[in-house]
């Protein structure tokens, strides 16, 4: 378990400000944020590469704030791998064991096991510069994991890789997390990675944590406009919220009135996920509270999914599968009905 208390550090243009965070043992924790948000510095602080201006870091209830990196028992993986270029793949992986003065025979067995696990046995005698990005990152992972760290810290580990390798490595990270029963903190700016891998996600902005929660919580209920924008929420509409009866809020956007089951008052933002909106060419009877007629303004073909923008007074983004798009014979300017439930409307 990692506990971070009131952690602050300020160095040149990098800054983190009064961070409080708790990562449970065995958790896959993703820190998500745009570049320059201080993610890397937070990770390097946990690893002990800096001493913070103030605050405390505890790993497994030990205060390690003043410990040097070599005494913390953390593994670190960087975006650009940082393999030792003058050492072979084998020597790179063996490094942590050699420092610990493990017997040569045991080093051999353990490194071979680790290479096998990551599918890089055939690269043992190669130098890092001759490897592909994916191979380098596997080597970097093996090097970090071989010392059985309590915590594995990864700084944008997949960002330098092509799509296919990234997907493969994501699967492997999941496996590794399960097999090693290790606490992982993974820093990224890519929401897909967070969705795929994270038990919980922290959103970071300008050196501060703006929200912590499961992916569903963050996806469905972004804490503020920044989080909503950042995780790629499509429909963000501004309006004024007022109570309407016992459990319902009505939000007047100036053009339409949207109903939500969430309780808020005053100036608000409203989000509806595109996949929660139903589209129909005819008016149908439904339990959905929000029903709007509009015209199709824009059609974007994303391959499997078609993204439609419907002007119902405010623009609404809706996703359709290719098949239903074709079945409904939609085109720009056509009038359609949109439906979504009051429970699908998030107000903040």
């Amino acid at each position: 378990m990692i506990k971070i208390k009131n952690l602050s550090n300020d160095w040149k243009s990098f800054k983190i400000n009064d961070i409080n965070l708790q990562v449970e043992a065995g958790e896959y924790f993703v820190i998500l944020g745009p570049s320059g948000s201080g993610k890397t510095m937070l990770l390097e602080l946990i690893a002990g590469m800096w001493s913070p201006d103030s605050g405390k870091i505890c790993i497994d209830d030990h205060d390690v704030t003043m410990f040097p990196p070599e005494k913390r028992g953390v593994g670190f993986v960087y975006q650009n791998y940082m393999l030792f270029p003058h050492k072979t793949v084998f020597e790179n992986i063996a490094f942590g064991l050699k420092v610990r003065k493990v017997a040569n025979d045991e080093i051999k067995t353990r490194v071979n096991e680790m290479m096998e696990l990551l599918g890089i046995s055939h690269l043992a005698d190669r130098f890092p510069r001759t490897l592909s990005g994916g191979e380098q990152q596997r080597t970097a992972l093996a090097r970090a994991l071989i010392i059985y760290p309590k915590v594995l810290l990864m700084d944008e580990p997949l960002s330098a890789l092509d799509r296919k390798t990234r997907d493969e490595l994501m699967q492997e990270l999941k496996e590794i997390h399960r097999k090693f029963d290790i606490t992982i903190i993974h820093v990224t700016h890519n929401f897909d990675e967070a969705l795929m891998l994270a038990d919980r996600i922290a959103i970071m902005k300008n050196g501060e944590i703006s929200q912590v929660g499961t992916s569903t919580e963050i996806f469905r209920h972004p804490a503020d406009k920044f989080v909503a924008d950042f995780v790629g929420v499509e429909n963000i509409i501004e309006g004024t919220a007022e109570k309407d009866g016992e459990k319902v809020t009505v939000i007047d956007t100036g053009n339409i009135s949207i109903y939500s089951t969430e309780q808020k008052k005053g100036h608000v933002h409203v989000t509806v996920r595109p996949e929660d909106i139903i589209l129909s060419t005819k008016k149908v009877e439904t339990s959905a509270r929000n029903v709007f007629k509009g015209q199709i303004k824009e059609i974007i073909d994303n391959g499997a999914l078609i993204k439609l923008t419907v002007d119902v007074g405010d623009p609404l983004v809706v996703f359709l599968t290719r098949q239903s798009f074709l079945d409904m014979e939609l085109n720009i300017g056509k009038s359609v009905w949109t439906y979504f439930k009051a429970t699908a409307v998030h107000v903040f």
């Binding site: 590469m49 040097p68 070599e70 593994g75 960087y78 940082m82 490094f95 130098f127 760290p149």
Partner: protein, 263 residues
């Protein structure tokens, strides 16, 4: 073949002036003295002794420069601190001041009554007209080669590589010797050889602080003054050959050394 435009041809003609200006005198010098006089000089004990003084003192000066210059280079490469610019300037000052001035400055301090000469003389190290004097004169004028080259080497190594090594359990000093030094070794080697070659050719500072024992450049000067050109030329040829061999060694190392960051 690519067609050359007039600008390129003009610049090439202008540029070749400097190349020829340096190359012709050296080539002429190498060819000017006859082989028999060179062989005769190689058997002259005074010549051999002076070359030994230069090469040996330069080697000591280089080792001292390495011992103190590498840590300094690492600090300069990795840390920002108040007065860093001043430290950098101090290291480079010997390049810009006349070498005889360096000699006078050193003599004032290292003479047996000087601030540094006095304590050293108590333990039996005398600088004036002695090998230690030659060594400090060389160290003074050539140590910046080691510092600047090593620093460049350290700066080319991503500090995050050192950080990773530390998370793997390696302490700072071990990381320095196992990761940093091997990766910077080429730059350090190049700097050392440059430092050594520069030290061998030092003259100005040496004649002020230690005219004797005769270093090779001092001997050449002495023979030129006393006996003229024909007597000094063979020694000059021997010394220049030695320096060129070192210089070629540097070029070979720069090209041939395995670079880890490139294919």
């Amino acid at each position: 073949m690519r067609k050359l435009d007039y600008t390129t041809i003009f610049f090439a003609v202008m540029g070749s002036f400097l190349v020829l200006f340096i190359f012709i005198p050296i080539l002429n010098l190498m060819l000017s003295s006859n082989p028999s006089s060179i062989i005769a000089n190689l058997q002259d004990s005074e010549v051999i002794k002076s070359i030994f003084v230069s090469v040996y003192s330069a080697l000591i000066a280089t080792i001292i420069a390495l011992l103190f210059g590498v840590p300094l280079a690492y600090i300069l490469a990795r840390h920002d601190f108040a007065g860093k610019g001043l430290v950098e300037s101090i290291i480079d000052v010997p390049i810009v001041i006349p070498h005889t001035v360096s000699g006078i400055a050193l003599l004032l301090v290292f003479t047996s009554g000087g601030v540094l000469g006095l304590p050293f003389s108590k333990v039996g190290i005398i600088f004036t007209d002695a090998i230690p004097g030659v060594v400090i004169a060389m160290l003074f004028v050539s140590s910046s080669f080691v510092v600047n080259s090593a620093r460049e080497g350290f700066e080319s190594i991503d500090p995050r590589m050192e950080k990773v090594a530390r998370t793997l359990g390696s302490g700072t000093l071990r990381t320095f010797f196992v990761i940093t030094i091997p990766l910077a070794l080429r730059s350090i080697a190049v700097g050392s050889i440059m430092c050594w070659a520069r030290a061998i050719s030092e003259f100005g500072a040496i004649i002020i602080i230690a005219y004797y024992p005769l270093a090779a450049p001092t001997l050449i000067y002495q023979r030129f003054v006393n006996f003229g050109l024909s007597d000094s030329t063979p020694v000059a040829v021997i010394l220049i050959s030695l320096c060129l061999v070192l210089f070629i060694a540097v070029r070979v190392i720069i090209r041939g050394w395995r670079t880890y960051d490139k294919d």
